[in-house]
């Protein structure tokens, strides 16, 4: 709302679709397609250009306001740090050859590095991760590099792809987006995902002198310039196109970027898993994750209302629907028929120590964390994806760790692995290009598995790589992996500092899938969590690292919590005696009650005797 206010203050007027008229009916979109030049597209144009979402959708919806929404604002320099909210899933740059697995984000989330720190230009960042980006943000930031400015004339910019979320047509192919981004067809990428357009060619292959507005056939006949064709019948008599736009985004659109696969044993097939209980109850993603024209989609975590200026933030968390917003003047519990949880037998202290998700979200925890695949980390849903469970990056879950709010919650986790320049205590990754050129050469002989997982990196390999990197850094070349920091000692050997702050794992909370109450932790007995081998405290978190010495290493879950491990163990052991405690207490109560009853009756007898004249 504040953002919207300031945007309006600059003089922009409300557009047709910025504000609803109150009708809940579906708005039909029969509209002209407009190219980035602001001209209406006709199939007879020469050349035929892709439609621009900025111009086509922006005609009725304020693009400048939308572009500050949560899905697009990561790289905005003028965004307040708190507006980024709690730490979420980063992009993960992974490379088995160089032993690289590094969390990256434009957001100032603790533990994540900026793309610049990792040596990724905005364009390279887009080419690697654009496959699962909704466009906008860094995709529209003009480069300062003259070469990239020239290339941007050919490739265009990656505008917000409104269709990625709002296209309800079954022919929408979001997987096409990644292919277009790889070919640097940024201008064509959104149109390529639609059901009515086909994009061919590659802007990447075109020479710097190529002009897409006045295209000429390239000298090399094998090279195909980027071009678009609209399917016959797309345009109506008046040149308008009917778009199947959904205001309420369908779940399957969200799933393209927000799918998770927990590899509990070997390979997990989709048909063997259940969806979030809320979806099965008939809700949609956007019932809880709402936004207005500002597109500041709520993430639904408790306390988000402090970061997100939205009237729905407090109402859309677990508590918001199931317990109600305490600050609300009118009753707000029970939204969407959300049942008020009874939590029978659960001491209230649990609500101070645990998040709702601790018991209700993610996979049921096992003895050890599961390798987990996510859409954005593992390119799920795109063409040619590596389906191996071992494919990098290695995301582990569920890790029950203390969150930013001090409560234990399930998290996904990655152990950062990167080559870095250490100056004093400051550890900054060495650029990806330098690492590939230097370390890649040293590690060339390390055998990599076909699965796409780590090779086995020996201490000798690390020593050799650090020596090779020494000339490329201004400080000291180091390697961070599996929580340890490796550096060359004065004698030229390899020194390892275990549990180094730079090697601290990056974690982000698990929100989904929410399990039903009947499958919540603790449903069987307290020992679901308070047994001496209960996963919540004593489950093993694999220490993931390409370094062969770390193979098989695990740390206990309790290490990630503000809980004394000895206490947790002793407390768990006490539950062996808990039934006895109950029996002793109940028997004691029975004796106390019986004695009270007995003497109470005797007293009554006296009184009765007194009044009946029999003393």
């Amino acid at each position: 709302m504040v953002v919207a206010f300031f945007a309006r203050a600059e003089g922009e007027e409300k557009k047709l679709g910025d504000e609803s008229d109150g009708s809940r009916a579906h708005a039909v979109h029969v509209i002209p397609l407009i190219n980035e030049e602001g001209e209406k597209i006709s199939p007879d144009d020469d050349p035929v250009l892709p439609f621009s979402t900025k111009e086509t959708c922006g005609d009725c919806h304020s693009y400048s306001i939308i572009s500050r929404g949560f899905h697009f604002n990561a790289a905005l320099a003028d965004l307040a740090p708190e507006a980024h909210g709690r730490a979420g899933q980063p992009w993960i740059l992974a490379d088995a050859r160089t032993g690289l697995q590094i969390p990256i984000s434009y957001r100032p989330w603790p533990g994540a590095f900026t793309p610049e720190q990792a040596g990724l230009s905005p364009k390279l960042f887009l080419k690697i991760f654009g496959r699962h980006m909704p466009g906008g943000g860094v995709g529209e930031v003009p480069s300062e590099d003259p070469d990239e400015i020239m290339r941007a004339m050919i490739s265009g910019y990656l505008e917000i792809n409104c269709l990625a979320c709002h296209d309800g047509h079954p022919g929408h192919n979001q997987a096409e987006y990644g292919g277009q981004v790889m070919r640097e067809n940024f201008r064509w990428a959104a149109a390529a995902t639609s059901s009515f357009a086909t994009v061919t060619g590659s802007a990447k292959d075109m020479p710097d002198t190529y002009d897409p507005m006045m295209p000429e056939a390239p000298e090399d006949p094998k090279l195909v310039p980027p071009g678009i064709t609209y399917k016959a019948g797309t345009f109506g008599d008046d040149g308008s196109v009917q778009l199947d736009i959904k205001r309420e985004v369908p779940n399957y659109r969200c799933y393209f970027c927000h799918s998770n696969m927990y590899i509990e044993s070997g390979h997990t097939e989709k048909w063997t898993t259940d969806e979030d209980i809320h979806l099965k109850a008939g809700l949609t993603c956007v019932d809880c994750h709402r936004n207005g024209i500002g597109h500041n989609t709520g993430r639904g975590y408790d306390g988000e209302s402090e970061a997100l200026d939205s009237p729905m933030a407090a109402k859309s968390s677990c508590k918001g629907c199931h317990l109600g917003d305490e600050s609300s003047e009118s009753p707000s519990a029970g939204r969407f028929r959300a049942p008020v949880p009874e939590h029978r037998g659960l001491p209230p202290v649990h609500f101070e120590k645990l998040s709702c998700t601790a018991c209700h979200s993610g996979p049921w925890p096992g003895d050890k964390t599961y390798l987990t695949k996510t859409s954005r980390a593992h390119r799920l849903g795109t063409v040619g994806v590596n389906k191996s469970p071992d494919a990098l990056p290695h995301v582990l879950s569920p890790v029950f760790a203390e969150g930013e709010d001090g409560k234990i919650a399930p998290h996904k986790l990655i152990w950062p692995a990167f080559w870095a320049d250490m100056q004093d205590a400051n550890v900054v990754p060495i650029g990806f290009d330098t690492v590939r050129a230097t370390v890649g050469k040293v590690m060339a002989k390390v055998e990599l598995p076909a699965s796409g997982g780590w090779g086995k990196m020996s201490r000798e390999n690390i020593t050799a790589a650090l020596k090779a990197l020494a000339g490329s850094v201004s400080g000291k070349a180091v390697y961070v992996s599996g929580g340890s920091l490796y550096s060359l000692s004065e004698s030229g050997g390899l020194a390892e500092q275990k549990d180094h702050p730079a090697g601290k794992p990056y974690m982000w909370p698990i929100g989904h899938d929410v399990r039903p109450a009947a499958q919540a932790l603790g449903i069987r007995y307290c020992t679901d969590c308070h047994a001496t081998d209960a996963p919540l405290f004593f489950g093993g978190v694999a220490v993931d690292s390409p370094v062969d010495a770390n193979e098989g290493r695990v740390v206990k879950m309790v290490e990630f919590q503000d809980v004394d491990a000895t206490y947790a163990k002793l407390f768990a052991m006490s539950f062996v005696f808990r039934p006895m405690l109950k029996i002793v207490a109940l028997l004691s109560c029975a004796v106390l009650g019986l004695v009270l009853l007995l003497y109470g009756l005797r007293a009554l007898k006296c009184v009765v005797g007194l009044f009946s004249g029999q003393d």
Binding site: R344, G345, K582, V584, S588, L610
Partner: protein, 188 residues
């Protein structure tokens, strides 16, 4: 003087008098057991009070961590001791007509009889004993019942509050009872 200025040194005669041990010929196993149970209950009560009230009143936190483990360890012992004490002391703490002059006069007036004016003494101590027994029930049940998957969050919070307030009342009544007992024995 039974008490020395030093809190460490306690005259043996006090203990003897409190537990009615002066007539050594009457000592038997039950007497010793009664003393041991009373001392155990006293010790448990002290531990439970410290571990229970310190985090809540001083630190403003819920009872958790090692204090809670200690609390939960002493609790069943305390409950058992209370039950045992109740059985062993109930007979001695029966109210008699002479316990309270007002009641005695009322009964005399109602029945038209005239009993002797003999006073049995220790009425307050007896009264506080029965109050303690009566408080023990909600004190123990409020926390034991909350351990069963019967009551939801609202009841859990209610039970916890009840446990706290009853515990506070129990400690106060218990302290008074102990003082009365000590005073009575010392007098006798």
């Amino acid at each position: 003087m039974l008490w020395d200025c030093s809190p460490v040194r306690i005259d043996v005669s006090l203990v003897e008098s409190v537990f009615d041990m002066s007539e050594k010929a009457k000592w038997n196993v039950l007497d010793i057991l009664r003393i041991l149970v009373y001392l155990a209950a006293l010790a448990c009560c002290a531990v439970l009070s410290i571990t229970g009230f310190y985090p809540v009143l001083i630190k403003g936190e819920h009872l958790s961590g090692y204090p809670m483990m200690l609390h939960a360890t002493c609790a069943p012992v305390f409950a058992a001791c209370m039950a045992a004490l109740c059985v062993m002391w109930a007979g001695r703490c029966c109210f008699k007509r002479g316990d309270c002059p007002v009641v005695r006069r009322l009964v005399d007036w109602l029945t038209g009889t005239k009993e002797s004016d003999e006073q049995t003494g220790g009425t307050a101590q007896k009264l506080f004993f029965w109050v303690l027994v009566a408080l023990s029930l909600p004190l123990i049940l409020s926390i034991v019942l909350s351990m069963f998957p019967i009551f939801g969050t609202g009841w859990q919070e209610y039970f916890l509050a009840m446990h706290r307030y009853v515990a506070a009342a129990f400690v106060i009544v218990g302290a008074v009872h102990m003082l009365l007992l000590a005073r009575m024995r010392v007098k006798s």
